[in-house]
Structure formats: structure tokens, C-alpha cells
Symmetry: C2
Subunit: 276 residues, 2 copies
């Protein structure tokens, strides 16, 4: 069992916001994650939040305002760091590849494969660590994310329908095989085998499979990156495949945390209603 | 009239979060401030929020979650930077003196007096700039702050009872003449004349004067800096002088933004109820 270290602990609403670290065997480095624990004697469901490019485990807990609703709706919220980190972990000068930009996949290329196993880290090692160390209702988990983390949530969700019972995203990258955010990173992490790329592409995965509960997605219409997100392609695939989805276009909203904080209550309530 | 530049503008809840800059004659430099503007055709009251040591105009708008309640209760919230800044503005290697640490006073010593006129900047130049550039109900203003900014709010409020109709603070420095946070800065900014020190010390000012409406103050009991805030002295003076005050001690809460976000709704509602 991985031993966790508590790095930060602050009272926030009716609960505590923690930041922890633990040694990840999967990523061969120390990993950080945040966890918000509402006051509760009962076991609670868990919602995983995956952050966007350049973020750490801090951005979401400092800026989203999620804790108020995690406290209100009694749901534990876990926010992993966006990548492995450390002096011995490979990096890249481009901020869309390397540390802060894992794309939540298992790298296959020589340079990256030792540390960049974020998909396995999330699906196996992190969820086990949370289940063993905190008072959680096992098999009662949801997943959501923003931008690169929205992509991660859609991929992790659809590939692990028994593990995650609820799924939502804010301005997700819906087709990393086409997006300027991800093409370089996918080339570096996965090489040129397009079959492997497809296994991390929601526009491919949702063609073959549906998620059992309704997915909630919000997308700002003033999002400066809107043309790199490919949400129209994703909506079309969901419609064709009868995927239940509540896709909401938000007038005047951009891609940042002011957009996230405006709708975070809706998302936490979405997960809470399914998981409770 | 000072011309303002809009540096950031994002949709947030039912309104917009802006960051602006303008040339301050009083501080002889460019100054930044944040302003949250709820959607409204009517003129709205204004609440000024003064931040703590080392902050900029960003910390409060990123971390407090205030916008949700500013939007809900229809109140404009303005957050000035904590000091003048720039290559030509004096600084100090200690983070509790100089840029990020104005203590919201008018410096009188040779090195600091050209730029560090934050009291006059707030009371005259910034409020005039806000009144002239935005759709505000003039003479319908409140003021609040955190830590060094709580001190600033108490001082600005009690000295300008006609200007500010509502007053509150989170973990304020109640006696800067005694606090390790401020003694060095007061020496540098004001020299050794204790009469001038007293004019920025709530424990002196509230002895001679009362604020017309009830003051709201929250203080965390796990605040690591609790012995440098002198809140017991301030409560005693308020009681002796019949100052109406709602002073709430908050179990398990520390000095940071998780404490602020937990109680920001109460504070915005406090101001809204008085100003509406």
C-alpha cells in the first residue's frame, strides 16, 4: 500500500482541503494530488477532476470554488497533478509537451514511457491509493475535467464504465488526433501508430461505445481555442450513437477558470445525483 | 479624469470580471485594480476589498469565490493592488515592506513618500475613478479587507464614515503599532512620530470614534499569525466604546484564502444589506 504524506491541510467550508504526495510506482516518481474531504462519518462517493495544460494540483482547488458544493452535496473531490514531475522526469521546452502536459495517456516511446504512464496511474494506482487511505464508497466514483483534463475524463470514463458511474467535462479537447493542442504531444508520446492515438481519442472511442449515464458538457462560445476542441464532431458522434448527453453552449464565456467557477456547481450536482 | 485601460475581461456568473489599470497622480505610477460588474441596467453599490501582504489585484478575484455573491446580491466589487509598483517605485528585500506591502497609508519619509500614498489613492483617486467610469450608486460604498487589508478597511472606514456606509474584515491586523507584521514597515514609511502611527491604528482610532453600522469580523482560531493580530485588544475597545460589532471566532480555520472563501458570502451579504 502506498503511504501518503499530507503537505497541506486547511479548513474550507464544512470540510478540509488537503494536498498530499505519494510515491508512484507506475510513474516512477513522487506524485501530488489534492483531496477535499467533507465532514462525514459515512463513506462518501469520489469525484476525480483532471486539470488542463500547464496546471498543477493547485489551480483547481484555488480557483474553481468547487469545495462549497463538495461540502454541500457531500462528495469527496480528488485532483491529481497533470503529469509526473521532478529532476529525473523528462521534460520539453514546449509547454504543451512534458511536465504539466501528460494528456493522461500511457506513453510508448523510449524517452517518455518510464514516467509518463498517467492513464495507468489514474485508473489503478491513484484510485487504489484513495480507496485505501480515505473513507470512500468504493465503486462509487465519477470523473470530470477541463480542456486537456476534459479529454482525459472522456477517455478514462468511456474506457472504464464499471469504475466511473458519472462523467462530465468543461471545454474538453474532443479530438486530440486533430487538435493543435495535442498533435505534437501525441507524436512524441505515442509515435506514429494511429491505432494507439485512436485509443485516446473520444471521437473514435464514442463511435464504438456509449457511457451508461448522461454526460454533461459545458463549452464557452467566446473560448479563444474553440476551433481546436472539435466539439461539433463529438456531438455528431454522440447523436449517431445514441449517447445521452447534455451539451450546453455558454454565451460570452471563455476557456479559463472564470468559466469553470461559473458552472462547477452544476457539474458537482450532476455527479452527486448519479453517485448518491 | 483618469483614463482606464481594460487589461482582462471574462464572463463570470451573471457579470464580468475585469482587471484595469490607470495612471495614478497620487502614487506617481500606473496602478492596477480588479472590478466585478454584475449585469445591471441600474446603478449598483460598490464594495472595496483590500488584500493582504504580498498579494496583487489577482489573489482575491482568483481565490475568494466572491463573484458568485456579487452577482447574486448585485454589488460591484473593486480590488485595488496592495501597493504602487514598477521599476521606478522603491522596494525593500523584506516582503513585509515595499511593493505588495503598502499598509494602505500615506508615507511621510523621504524614500517612500513620492509613491506610497495609498490612503489618499484609495479614498480620493480610486473611488473617483470608479465613480466616473462605471455605473455606480455614488455615496453608496462599503469597504472590507483581509489581514493587512483588514487593517486598511478598519482605518479607511472609521476615518471616512460618510464615504463608507458598511465595514467588515477577515483576520485583520487590529493594532499595527504592536504587530510584528507592521512595526518595521511603519518605522520605514512613517518614521518615529507615534502620533502619525496612531492615525493608522484601529486600536487608537476606535477609542475616539465609532462606525455607524455594525462591523462584521471573522477570525480563524487556527490562524498561525493570531498573536500578531491583537483582536482581543480591539474587541475590548469596541465594547468600552459601544461600537456595534459581530466578531466571530471560527474553529479550525487558518489565515489563508480557504478561510476567506468559506465566509465571503456572509461578508458580501452584510454589505449588501446595509447598502441596498
Amino acid at each position: 500500500m502506498t503511504k501518503i504524506k499530507i503537505l497541506e491541510k486547511s479548513r474550507n467550508f464544512d470540510g478540509y482541503q488537503l494536498v498530499c504526495s505519494h510515491t508512484s510506482k507506475v510513474n516512477s516518481c513522487e506524485m501530488k494530488f489534492s483531496i477535499y474531504l467533507p465532514d462525514s462519518k459515512k463513506k462518501l462517493p469520489v469525484l476525480y477532476f483532471l486539470s488542463g495544460l500547464t496546471c498543477t494540483e493547485q489551480n483547481f482547488i484555488q480557483k474553481s470554488g468547487a469545495q462549497k458544493y463538495a461540502s454541500k452535496y457531500k462528495i469527496i473531490v480528488v485532483g491529481p497533478d497533470t503529469s509526473p514531475r521532478g529532476a529525473n522526469v523528462p521534460n520539453h521546452p514546449d509547454s504543451f509537451i512534458g511536465q504539466g502536459a501528460s494528456f493522461y495517456l500511457n506513453a510508448t516511446t523510449k524517452k517518455w514511457k518510464k514516467n509518463y504512464q498517467m492513464y495507468d496511474y489514474l485508473i489503478h494506482e491513484l484510485t487504489e491509493t484513495i480507496n485505501k487511505n480515505f473513507n470512500v464508497k468504493q465503486n462509487n466514483q465519477g470523473i470530470m475535467g477541463h480542456s486537456m483534463g476534459g479529454l482525459g475524463a472522456l477517455v478514462c470514463g468511456i474506457k472504464n464504465k464499471k469504475k466511473f458511474k458519472s462523467l462530465s467535462a468543461l471545454a474538453p479537447i474532443c479530438s486530440p488526433s486533430q487538435s493543435n493542442f495535442s498533435i505534437n504531444a501525441f507524436n512524441k508520446y505515442l509515435g506514429t501508430n494511429k491505432k494507439i492515438w485512436e485509443s485516446y481519442d473520444p471521437c473514435k472511442l464514442f463511435k464504438k461505445n456509449t457511457f451508461p449515464s448522461k454526460i454533461l458538457i459545458d463549452q464557452g462560445l467566446k473560448d479563444a481555442f474553440i476551433n481546436d476542441l472539435y466539439f461539433q464532431d463529438f456531438i455528431k458522434i454522440c447523436k449517431t450513437n445514441y449517447q445521452k448527453i447534455n451539451f450546453r453552449l455558454r454565451k460570452n464565456h471563455d476557456h479559463g477558470y472564470y468559466f469553470i467557477s461559473s458552472f462547477i456547481e452544476d457539474h458537482i450536482l450532476h455527479h452527486s445525483n448519479i453517485l448518491k
